[in-house]
Amino acid sequence: MKTIIRLAGIMILLWAAGLADNAQESQADHAVVSFSNPAKPGTVEVDISEGSITVRGYEGKDVVIDARWRERVLTKEEQEQEAALAEGGEELDQEELARKKAQAEKAKGMKTIEVESMGLTIEEEENVIQVNAEEGKRAVDLVIQVPFSTSLRLSCRDDERGVTVDRVDGEIEVETSDGPIVLTNVSGPVVADSSDGEIKAVFGKVVPGKPMSFSTMEGDVDITLPFDVKASLKMKTDEGKIFTDFDVQLKPSQQKKEEDERKEGGGYRVSFEKVTLGLINGGGVEIQITTYEGNVYIRKAK
């Protein structure tokens, strides 16, 4: 079964026109989507280029999506153009300047109504709900409520606000560029990557068996695990430090390379990879952590 809900156009347009006096307030979309097989845990996939994603587990069976569109922010290019125009438009080419001036003349004495299409698409197929925001539209803040056991695949680029998940037990895959990743009361295997953002994850419990991985270039990785967790940590950081209040049993790295060229008149050399292996409570779930500049914090839940 395939349900497509396009939340665009006329409704919003009418609503916006009705509230034209109050055009500063941002606009909201609301949708309730059910899984085709609610008895089985479903998956929610979200991919947006600008904005933030917040997902919360709740006791319902449907997925409830609220989208709040932010006021349109001018792109850098547009800002430069505006500034150039305000200064008399010397830096703009003449044709462009003439057009802008003509447009400004026409709009004299009137006010702006935001009439942009929202471009949010929600699809359901085989127990997977996909939420996509059209590229190049305004930034959107999504708040999504899902059944506890739902799995998530979230991708959010170019924003400071990032991804927040609370009380979801399914498998979680998250990816951001700048924004932070904050996960609380999660238990499923988490695979998270951020280029510049911080990754914070607080586990209520840890599902045994499935490996996890966290990686960030510039941010810190901050993980809180239950005190009795059995985990095998594999941590790599170039410039960061590693902190923990667990009793971690360090293992020598097995990734050792020996080169013996003495017979051929060369030298002897042993190199170790910059990896720290540590066992918590004897080892268990594999947790891989990679940072470049960021620190690593492994906390024991109080």
Binding site: F148, S151, D169, E171, E173, E175, S187, P189, V191, A192, D193, S195, K205, V207, P208, G209, K210, P211, M212, S213, F214, S215, T216, M217, K234, K236, D238, Q255, K257, E259, S271, E273, K274, V275, E286, Q288, T290, Y292, E293
Partner: protein
């Protein structure tokens, strides 16, 4: 029932071997205990996965080898029986052959001891090498099993399962071309940065394999994630791969390159030259 008791019964529950009473007890408990439910789900997931693996069938040659061994063993015991009867007649002849003078007796016994030691040593060397081929054979079978699991896991939609696939392949003693190819493909194509990073680590273990070094150098140009680029540069510098110089020089030319990666690549160049 307590969680602990439920978990003891979960294997029987999945196999459908519980009686009515315990079955309903387990169901009641599962209905309001999410932790047990999850435990059971992951257990059943493992079971299904094990079910997917092809059943190990003994090969035709195994049967032949077994009968050969049995035959050899039978022959061996028959020989022993012959030896006893032979031995009696031989001892008579030995008695007659034994030199009379004690000095010669000692000399002869010394020679016999030396011959016995030498023979024993030769035999032990042979049986040791036989045991070694057997162990190698077993190791090969374990490798095959790991290979199947690794390749099938690397094709899963879940990144966590693909990570598991990478760590299974890292446990293979002698990876064949298939595993190397699959790992290189994971490094180049996997949509998840974490899985690609794990693939770099796994390939590090196999850098002696002829295709690995070339594959790693080739991969450097196609990577978009700065973290993966950094970890590849670290690895290439670590293994002193001088052929990587050209690839690093080209990488530095890229204007969109992350400044930190650029710095690392430049440092890498000085380390390699």
């Amino acid at each position: 029932m307590k969680c602990e008791q439920i978990r003891e019964k979960s294997a029987d529950y999945l196999a459908g071997e519980l009686d009515e009473k315990s079955l309903s007890e387990v169901r009641v408990h599962l209905a309001h205990c999410p932790a047990c439910r999850e435990e059971l789900e992951s257990l059943s997931a493992i079971w299904t996965k094990l079910g997917v693996l092809p059943k190990e069938q003994p090969s035709g040659s195994l049967r032949i080898r077994f009968y050969e061994m049995l035959e050899a063993y039978k022959k061996g015991t028959e020989k022993d029986r012959d030896k006893i009867s032979l031995g009696q007649t031989l001892s008579y002849w030995f008695g007659r052959l034994m030199p009379r003078r004690p000095a010669y007796q000692i000399a002869l016994s010394l020679i016999l001891i030396a011959a016995g030691l030498g023979g024993g040593f030769l035999l032990s060397v042979r049986s040791r090498s036989a045991a070694r081929t057997e162990v190698t054979g077993l190791r090969g079978e374990v490798d095959d099993m790991r290979r199947i699991v690794a390749v099938s896991l690397l094709k899963q939609a879940s990144p966590s399962e693909r990570l598991m696939g990478v760590s299974w392949s890292a446990r293979i003693d002698r990876p064949g071309d298939e595993i190397i190819q699959t790992l290189l493909e994971t490094l180049n194509r996997d949509p998840n940065v974490n899985v690609r990073l794990a693939a770099v680590d796994a390939l590090y273990l196999f850098y002696d394999h002829p295709e690995v070094k070339a594959g790693l150098i080739h991969s450097l140009a196609g990577q978009t994630s700065p973290l993966v680029q950094l970890s590849l540069i670290n690895l290439l510098v670590e293994i002193r791969e001088r052929r990587a110089v050209e690839a690093l020089e080209r990488l530095i030319q890229d204007e969109k390159l992350n400044p930190k990666v650029k710095k690392r690549a430049e440092l890498g160049l000085t380390q390699l030259s």
